[in-house]
């Protein structure tokens, strides 16, 4: 408790990067009304890695979509560096806040090659980089995520595997190096032995460049390994929050307890 207070105090001295205040999203109306996100508040500090953890239908992706301005909140607001994101210019916002989705390429124009997909990152950044420099930077970013640029640069989305597409999204995020990265199940199609390498890369990026990351995931192991803090979401509400080790080792909420009990671990065998 003392530790938590000290942590809170040190945080208060810093300005949060993102503040989510009383965020609510209601779909439908009348008797078809579904409250997908119900009065959710939290903040993300610069350089911090947090995870919004929940099962399917918990409202975690809807929350992420509102943070990315892909969906309008029904109530509440989101501040980025103290400014309401609805009042910001889209390009300015997305230059600083980027997302990795589970499979973004599935909704992409399949006539775009990997090259044109990545080169849009430079347009978004707005700073002038020569074509040859761009190419070198793309190749480097692809190499970092374990993709062979020579083989893949002019391939189209449907010619890549799910894992390759996810790696490519991460390469694009590397090129943009935003201040806040929203990563929605970014490695769900990547095998365990390669997944850790990619997560390490994102964690290094956060450590070295001060980038904040919010993972949106159902994978408790991933959240626990990467994150400073966890927010546990159930039925639209945040039911528990705190430093990762505390939440996992001493969960106080009933739902969190049940969730953790159902995750297969190595030390214990379930009583079935």
């Amino acid at each position: 408790m003392v530790l938590a207070n000290a942590l809170n105090n040190s945080k208060k001295q810093r300005q949060p990067l993102l503040q989510v205040e009383n965020l609510t999203k209601v779909f439908g109306s009348g008797k078809n009304e579904v409250i997908a996100v119900d009065d959710v508040s939290f903040e993300i500090y610069p350089g911090e890695i947090i995870s919004l953890l929940g099962e399917s239908g918990s409202g975690k992706t809807t929350t992420a979509r509102m943070i990315l301005r892909l969906s309008q909140p029904t109530r509440g607001r989101i501040l980025f560096k103290g400014k309401d994101i609805q009042a910001m210019k889209g390009v300015d916002y997305w230059r600083q806040v980027q997302a990795i989705f589970q499979d973004p390429f599935s909704s992409f124009n399949s006539f775009y090659s990997v090259h044109s997909f990545l080169s849009k990152a430079f347009r978004l950044k707005g700073n002038h980089v020569s074509k040859s420099q761009q190419r070198a930077m793309m190749e480097e970013a692809m190499k970092k995520v374990g993709l062979n640029a020579e083989e893949l640069l002019f391939k189209r989305p449907h010619e890549l595997s799910g894992g390759q597409r996810q790696r490519l999204m991460i390469a694009r995020a590397l090129l943009i190096s935003p201040e806040l990265l929203i990563a929605d199940e970014p490695t769900s199609m990547i095998d365990a032995s390669s997944r850790v390498g990619i997560l390490n890369m994102l964690m290094d990026l956060s450590r070295n460049l001060g980038m904040s990351i919010m993972f949106i995931t159902h994978d408790i192991g991933l959240a626990y390994y990467t994150s400073d803090r966890l927010l546990i979401m159930n039925k639209g509400r945040i039911v528990e929050r705190g430093p990762s080790v505390e939440v996992v080792e001493n969960p106080t909420d009933e739902y969190t307890r049940r969730l953790l009990a159902d995750v297969p671990t190595l030390s214990k065998r379930w009583a079935l």
Binding site: E55, S193, S194, R195, A223, L266, R269
Partner: protein, 323 residues
């Protein structure tokens, strides 16, 4: 009691145009023993689902069995006439829940029609009413709601759909259930419910053994008696659950176990390193041990000759370091 199913030096390749072959399963020898859960583990493209398709006789071109045999219940399965396999083996001796099975339920049909089709396929003389009664009795026995039979698939949750598929696939009390990633798209609570159902089917002796195919080793820690680890079309290590999870010997098993992100203290106390590189192209796999290009412990032998199996007790390892 003898083994329920045996694969001997099984080779199954995908034959593409221009004579190109993908050697997805390349010389696998493995047995399923009575009263066990055998985990078959490995990452994408290692051949585990191909192996599942062949041993359940559900493989189709372009996948072809090139060599080896599969024996079960005294039959040489791969040489059994199709009609006989359908009448005497499939659904009755071996049943399979393929990957993504729960999404293969016909969305325009009530679930009971799947039960009727399934049962009449294997027992043509069974009436519709008998089929539905059998399914209802089994659901009751397993404390699952009968209403699933009159439901459409979209009215059921993912976990319930998967449990329904498993129950209906085992109505004829097959000895062997082959389950390919039965829980991979489910939330952890539904996952546990599916696992509980599988264990109940074993306890009630509705089925005798399970081949449980998954990429998730922590899950096998929960359910498996033995685990077979595959890499690039071959087995690298087979042993008891404790041996594979807690004392892996093969460098690939060790590295794979080391990459598991479970919510336990040791995971946060160190930087976990995955395995650099990617698995080999199975059109043209490397000589020697197939893991050698990514192995940190390789010696010269590994690049030249395939490691022979080394068996100690219940464990067999295919690695030159063991010789």
């Amino acid at each position: 009691m003898k083994n329920l199913l045996e694969a001997q030096n099984l080779k199954a390749y995908y034959r593409l145009v221009d004579g190109i072959q993908i050697r997805a399963v390349d010389g696998v020898t493995l047995e399923l023993r009575p009263n066990e859960v055998l985990g078959i583990a490995g990452e994408s493209g290692c051949g585990k689902s191909t192996l599942a398709a062949v041993i359940s006789l559900t493989h189709n071109p372009p996948l072809h069995v090139i060599d080896g045999e599969v024996t079960a219940n005294g039959f040489d399965l791969l040489r059994l006439p199709k009609e006989q396999a359908r009448r005497e083996i499939k659904g009755k001796y071996i049943s399979v829940v393929p990957q993504g099975a729960m999404n293969a339920l016909n969305p325009t049909q009530r679930v009971r029609n799947f039960a009727i089709d399934m049962l009449q396929e294997h027992q043509p003389d069974m009436t519709k009413q008998d089929a539905v009664d059998l399914a209802r009795a089994r659901l009751q026995e397993l404390s699952l709601p009968e209403r699933v039979l009159t439901s459409y698939p979209h009215e059921l949750s993912g976990g319930m759909k998967q449990r329904t598929v498993i129950v209906l696939s085992t109505l004829l009390n097959p000895k062997v259930l082959i389950a390919d990633e039965p829980t991979s798209a489910l939330d952890v609570s539904s996952q546990r419910a599916v696992i509980r159902l599988l264990m109940t089917l074993l306890d009630e002796q509705i089925i005798t053994s399970i081949a449980f195919i998954t990429h998730e080793l922590p899950l096998l820690r929960q359910v498996a008696d033995r685990i077979a680890v595959m890499y690039a079309g071959k087995l690298v290590e087979v042993g008891t659950m404790e041996e594979i999870i807690f004392q892996p010997q093969h460098p690939y098993t060790k590295a794979l176990m080391g990459s598991m992100l479970v919510p336990e203290r040791h995971v946060r106390e160190q930087r976990i390193e995955g395995i650099p590189g990617v698995p080999p192209d199975l059109k043209n796999p490397p000589a020697g041990c197939r893991f050698h290009p990514r192995c940190t412990q390789r010696i010269e032998w590994c690049t030249q000759e395939e490691p022979p199996p080394k068996t100690v007790g219940d464990r067999t390892t295919w690695c030159w370091l063991m010789h």
